[in-house]
């Protein structure tokens, strides 16, 4: 009995640092944000501490007419859904490019694999802003891509693709590609390729072996990659800011502007809570689909 208590105490001490760190740096900020989202806006910006209102959440869906009646305002909802749509599109695009890339990497000899992993992680060495500015130089009117296309005579005029949803999707896909490639590669790398040989032996051609054996076995990696791309993508604000040119806002930009220029902290906090709810829903879907019933096809 006494020994068990001692054991329990030692365990408590051992996990104390992580509990404190997570508590202090994660739970406390989220709690503060949740609290602020139910407060009134301070007169000179900031928050009127101690007040309570659900106005920020109302503001997300409605605007108040002059006579104080509520009118449905879908502006913010549109931004919200655009964010989800762009994040989903980015996830699909990174998956479409990332899966073949990871497969190619996993099939290389060991030495070359390590070089390829290194190459995939190289973009992390450069600041995100710099990389997005680089895309501006590539995509803008008479930028590098236009010059090449016009030089080859494939087009007569600039494409004018910068500052559009398209350029945001390109930028996000580029930015989040390593987050898709690496987890899929990790799951393919430890795969037993004799299973693919068995699939061939049993009459599966390359495509069917990929679909019936390789992809199902790489599913944990694919799911992890999708989560790692979709969630940060939903809150991205640097890429839509720079490549969207303020014309195509995402939820991240909206939140940033509430804490910045608009000085409406409660509304920004309410938007953040809505984003958090969306992310939690995505996570719960992932857990439900891939953790509770692993391998169930």
């Amino acid at each position: 009995m006494a020994r068990q208590t001692g054991e329990g105490r030692r365990r408590a001490w051992l996990i104390a640092p992580s509990v404190l760190t997570i508590g202090f740096f994660m739970l406390v900020p989220v709690a503060i944000m949740a609290a602020i989202s139910f407060m009134e806006r301070g007169s000179g910006g900031g928050v009127s501490w101690g007040s309570f209102t659900s106005e920020p959440y109302v503001q997300f869906l409605f605007e108040r007419d002059l006579d104080d009646s509520l009118l449905l305002n879908t502006d913010y909802l549109q931004i919200f859904f655009r964010s989800i749509w762009l994040a989903a599109l980015t996830t699909v695009l990174t998956l479409a490019v990332g899966l073949p890339t990871a497969l190619f990497m996993a099939l290389q000899p060991e030495r070359r694999r390590n070089i390829l992993i290194f190459l995939v992680t190289i973009p992390f060495w450069t600041n995100l802003l710099v990389r997005n500015y680089a895309w501006i130089l590539l995509l803008r009117n008479n930028g590098l891509i236009d010059q090449v296309l016009m030089g080859l005579g494939l087009r007569n005029e600039p494409m004018g693709v910068l500052y559009s949803t398209f350029s945001i999707a390109v930028g996000l896909t580029y930015t989040f590609m390593p987050f898709m490639v690496l987890p899929i590669y990790a799951s393919l790398e430890k795969m037993d390729w004799r299973l693919v040989e068995a699939a061939y032996d049993l009459g599966a051609d390359r495509w069917r072996a990929l679909r019936r054996v390789v992809i199902p076995l790489a599913m944990p990696g694919i799911a992890a990659g999708c989560i790692l791309v979709f969630i940060p993508c939903l809150g991205a604000f640097v890429t839509p800011e720079l490549l969207g040119g303020g014309k195509a806002l995402m939820i991240g930009n909206l939140i940033q502007s509430q804490f910045g220029a608009a000085r409406n902290w409660p509304f920004g906090a309410a938007l953040s809570m809505a984003l958090l709810a969306a992310v939690l829903l995505a996570m719960m879907f992932y857990l439900w689909r891939y953790r509770r019933a692993p391998g169930a096809a």
Partner: protein, 361 residues
Amino acid sequence: MKGDAIEARSLTKRFGAAADAVTALDRVSVTIRENEFFTLLGPSGCGKTTLLRLIAGFELPTEGELYLHGQRIESLPPFRRPVNTVFQSYALFPHLNVQRNVAFAPEMQNRPRSEINAEVRRTLDLVRLNGFEKRLPRELSGGQQQRVALARALAGKPKVLLLDEPLSALDLKLRREMQIELKRLQHETGITFVFVTHDQEEALTMSDRIAVMSGGRILQIGTPTEIYEQPTSRFVADFIGETNFLAARCLESIGGRALYRLPSGTELEGIAIPGLGAGSDVTLAVRPERVDLVREEGQGMPAIMRTILYVGNDTICTVALPDGTELQARVQNRRGAIGGIEPGSPLRVRIPPEAIRVVGD
């Protein structure tokens, strides 16, 4: 009328670049008959698995031709060959249950669903695993996984079933059971089995014919009795069972009988082999169980008992000939068989002429 299931003509497989290529298979020619239990036997690295992988289509031959029921197949991909493999590691799909694993091959053949289900039931019946359809491979014991692997390979209705050391991961008792099981399956399905093993006992008990391989070549092909009783080379005699080798010189060879002289001066009568002239040096192979130990003077060769090893049903004795050559004799433990002979005491060794084989190096 039985045809040939597999015919290999001068198959060669080299791995690596031309300069430092390793020859895994060296101009191997072999014919495997339809409905035969054919075993490739040899130590690791002898090329038996390479030959199996060439038949399955996982490797392409460097040279040579391969026929399956008369059709040339050496350059076909594995999924176009009516050949299925039972892998040493089983290679069951871990994400699919037993039912889906066994249904894999018929599904790939795009057979109708009802036919697939019937096939799965039939093959699971065959390996006595009905009731396990919904289990995942990791929920099965090693022996059960082995049976699923067999059922999965048989469900594709292959013309030839390849088995790559399928029993090596099982414990002795289970291995014995599966040996009988495999023979039964081969009998019931009428499929040609090509079985790879390094276990000579397994090969002898299960096979219709055995090909003994070494260094990428086939040294001898024959029935288990032929391989055991009439080994043509020193390697085959040594690899399969215990063998005594005696250096000797052929003195004369008349009418199927030959006279050999050992270095000790003793003369031995044995079976002659064609083309062996008087005066040539040969190696004689004698199985320990064919060596008789006797006490009566005037019979056989003089020898001294060296060691006596009791192994239950038999006693293994080492005796020394006058020139120091040691010879093993395996004596059945019938009452009084070697009673009274102590290590160091003299005795006589008799080898019947039909027990003496001349083997090449």
